[in-house]
């Protein structure tokens, strides 16, 4: 049997067995859960090679599953993050209800993502896409009634995206008479111009929803922050990357074939940058860590979308690199929040404080990810962001650079808020009982932190596979390795390492560490905790004045016009308008039998009047 089929079977059987096992006993369920994911991961990495293909025919459609370098790359995200999140969720979800349900949908989520990556045809792509949607939807609504609105919103937007995609797929099928992606790419140039423009737009709408692109992102903050954190890390880290994966395919395979491709590229790049900027602003305004991270995810995906849309070699390289890194650091951060939520019971940044001594390992993981997220050397985020800026400048997108740079800088604010809010500051009696999270939760976070460090130091490890993947996507291989185009690698290091810069940074870092430690040794001076900052504002009488409370008030006031209204508001307006319209329409069914009889006669009269128009 084909190794790809075996993977799918492992997932499917595993999902069902886990569900049943969980009903029997907790331990059985959890171990089956882990076993499934690790068995599939092992099977994938040991037995499946790029180029394996499994073709079959269903409902008269030729379909194909196979693996390409680019999907192999994304499968790193899915399986890597998936298996770590699985380990994490064992302890994180302990003592929660309906674990079988959670595990089942978790496995189905990973299964469907792998399916998306392994699909070489549009129909199985779409089927897996939908499985991904509903399995993640089931987890979003895991918490119950309180999140039902969030869940419906998520599913609604996903459905809009999916149906846009489905429309594109059926049109493609009617044009090409095949659903294989390679046939589409091959014959795309012969499409009429209208199709050439509309098909990518429809597809990008579909992918844009999952990637949380403006203005389709409104589901994301709610969905990310309301799922259990063990899943949110996968959700924001891997699931949203499927949108990115689709966008990569569309931009590199289809849009390059349109002569007028620039406009679409510009529009999407702008949307990406706006997503980044506005997402960041909203993230700053949040007091809840989950919400903060959710908005931050939206913002980070904005960078990635911009990179993919600009689509020069370097931009694409940067985008995919950032996509992998985002999976690592955002995955870790959601895990951190999950750990803190589990230990303290809340994720409110203004309440929790001073956990650094209580949860040191969690702190280290959080610190590393925050550094990577903010794009500070020597961690990987820096490399990715640098390459993105460079690519944007090299392709003359100066305003975009400004926008992205603004987003990135403003991003420091929420990074700081997150780190300070949870870990630094005064220790309060309230949190004196807090202990470090269990090892199974801490270890995945630490593994990711180490990976972040490694990738920041040796970005070549990741850049090489991306390079191979991009050549598969049709980027000319003439230049050798793309990353040599970056100033970063040309002038400050050899092709793989960033040694001088790295050492300089590490030295500074160590110096600060020593300095801070020394300072800490002097002993702490205690002040009353809640009167530290008023940010230049005149404080009211009974206000919480700790750093975290309204700390960014002046800044937020400055950007207030931009943030006046969430896009949600407009969607709600449209939605309510539609419902009112529908409510009006259904009144044609008056409930009176005679009215219905009159309708029949009126219908007869209309048909008789129009008969020459209707029937030739």
């Amino acid at each position: 049997m084909n190794s790809i089929v075996i993977i799918f079977l492992i997932f499917l059987a595993g999902a069902v067995l886990t569900y049943i096992g969980q009903r029997l006993s907790n331990i059985l369920g959890s171990s089956l859960f882990l076993l499934t994911i690790f068995a599939a991961t092992a099977q994938f990495y040991l037995r499946v090679n790029t180029g394996d293909i499994f073709s079959f025919s269903l409902n008269g459609l030729e379909m194909e599953w196979g693996i390409t370098p680019i999907s192999w790359l994304f499968s790193l995200i899915v399986l890597g993050l998936g298996s770590m999140a699985a380990v994490y969720s064992i302890s994180a979800m302990k003592a929660k209800e309906r674990l079988g349900y959670f595990y089942f949908n978790f496995i189905m989520g990973i299964f469907s993502m792998m399916g998306i990556l392994l699909s070489r045809d549009l129909v199985s792509f779409f089927i897996f896409w939908e499985i991904m949607t509903w399995s993640s939807y089931m987890i979003v609504i895991y918490e119950g009634r309180s999140v039902q609105k969030v869940g419906i919103k998520y599913f609604l937007f996903s459905a809009i995206g999916a149906y846009a995609m489905l429309m594109a797929i059926v049109i493609i099928y009617s044009q090409v008479h095949s659903v294989l992606i390679e046939d589409l790419v091959y014959s795309f140039s012969s499409f009429t111009l209208a199709y050439k423009i509309w098909l990518p737009i429809l597809l990008l709408t579909g992918f844009g929803v999952k990637a949380g692109m403006m203005p389709l992102h409104v589901w994301a903050p709610g969905a990310y922050s309301h799922s259990p954190m063990a899943y949110s890390s996968l959700f924001s880290g891997a699931l949203s990357k499927m949108g990115v994966y689709g966008m990569v395919l569309v931009f590199s395979m289809l849009i390059t074939q349109i002569p007028e491709h620039l406009l679409i590229r510009e529009v999407i790049a702008w949307l990406g940058a706006l997503t980044a900027a506005i997402g960041t602003l909203w993230a700053i305004a949040q007091d809840d860590a989950k919400k903060l991270l959710a908005y931050s995810s939206v913002a980070q995906l904005g960078y990635i979308i911009t990179g993919v849309a600009v689509g020069t070699e370097l931009a694409m390289l940067a985008a995919i690199f950032l996509a992998v890194l985002h999976a690592l650091f955002k995955g870790t951060l959601f895990m951190v929040v999950g750990a803190i939520e589990k230990q303290t019971g809340t994720t409110n940044l203004t309440e929790v404080t001073g956990l650094i001594r209580k949860m040191p390992w969690t702190f280290i993981a959080a610190l590393m990810s925050i550094i990577a997220l903010a794009g500070i050397p020597p961690l990987g985020g820096f490399v990715g962001k640098w390459m993105l800026y460079e690519a944007l400048i090299a392709s003359d997108h100066y305003i975009l650079v400004v926008l992205i740079f603004f987003a990135s800088t403003a991003g420091f604010l929420y990074c700081y808020k997150f780190l300070f809010g949870f870990f630094l500051g005064q220790e309060e009696k309230e949190w004196a009982h807090v202990k470090e999270a269990p090892a199974t939760m801490v270890v995945p976070m630490l593994i990711f932190s180490v990976l972040l460090f490694v990738l920041g130091t040796f970005p070549g490890l990741l850049l090489k596979p991306i390079d191979i993947g991009m050549q598969e996507l049709g980027y000319a291989a003439s230049e050798g390795h793309y990353w040599t185009m970056s100033v970063l690698f040309n002038e400050y290091g050899n092709a793989i390492m960033l040694q001088p810069i790295l050492y300089a940074i590490i030295a500074i870092f160590l110096f600060f560490l020593v300095f801070l430690t020394a300072k800490a040794f002097k002993g702490t001076r205690y002040v009353s905790t809640k009167d530290i900052s008023s940010s230049g504002e005149v404080p009211g009488e009974f206000e919480n004045l700790s750093f975290k409370e309204n700390f960014f008030q002046p800044f937020l006031r400055a950007v207030e016009p931009v943030m006046k209204r969430q896009i949600d508001w407009y969607y709600t307006l449209v939605g309510n308008g539609m419902e009112a319209l529908f409510n009006f329409v259904r009144r044609v069914y008056t409930g009176n039998g005679q009215t219905y009889a009159i309708y029949a006669i009126v219908f007869l009269v209309i048909l008789l009047l129009l008969k020459s128009n209707l029937f030739g």
Binding site: R587, G591, N592, G593, Q594, A597, I598
Partner: protein, 137 residues
Amino acid sequence: MDQVKFDISLIEYGFFISAILVIMIGLYGAMVKKSLIKIVIGLSILESGVNLLLITIAYVQGGTAPIFSPGLLKDMPLTVENIKALGAGMVDPVPQALVLTAIVIGFGVTAVALALVIRLYRHHHTLVIDEIKNLKW
């Protein structure tokens, strides 16, 4: 046999028009009257109108009942031609068969309708159709 034709004569027009008028009256009753009983009566009239129309198209002017009796064939040999010639002087039997069926069906529908009216009256204590609108939208 030449005078027997399917031409529509004035009398047949009269039949048609009166049948259609009956249908119209039935429709009027079913659609405008507010009492359930009157609606049922309207539907009944509607049925009759349609049945009349059906009979009308079968009518052959001066035709006889569509029965082959031995007397009709007296001296003629039993050939296809002769039978056809005889048949042309008869009223078309098919619509009559149809009408019989339709009448039976109409009877059944009316019976069900009246039974429903009784049920409705017991439930709503009224026969005005405008007041029986619990199910709507």
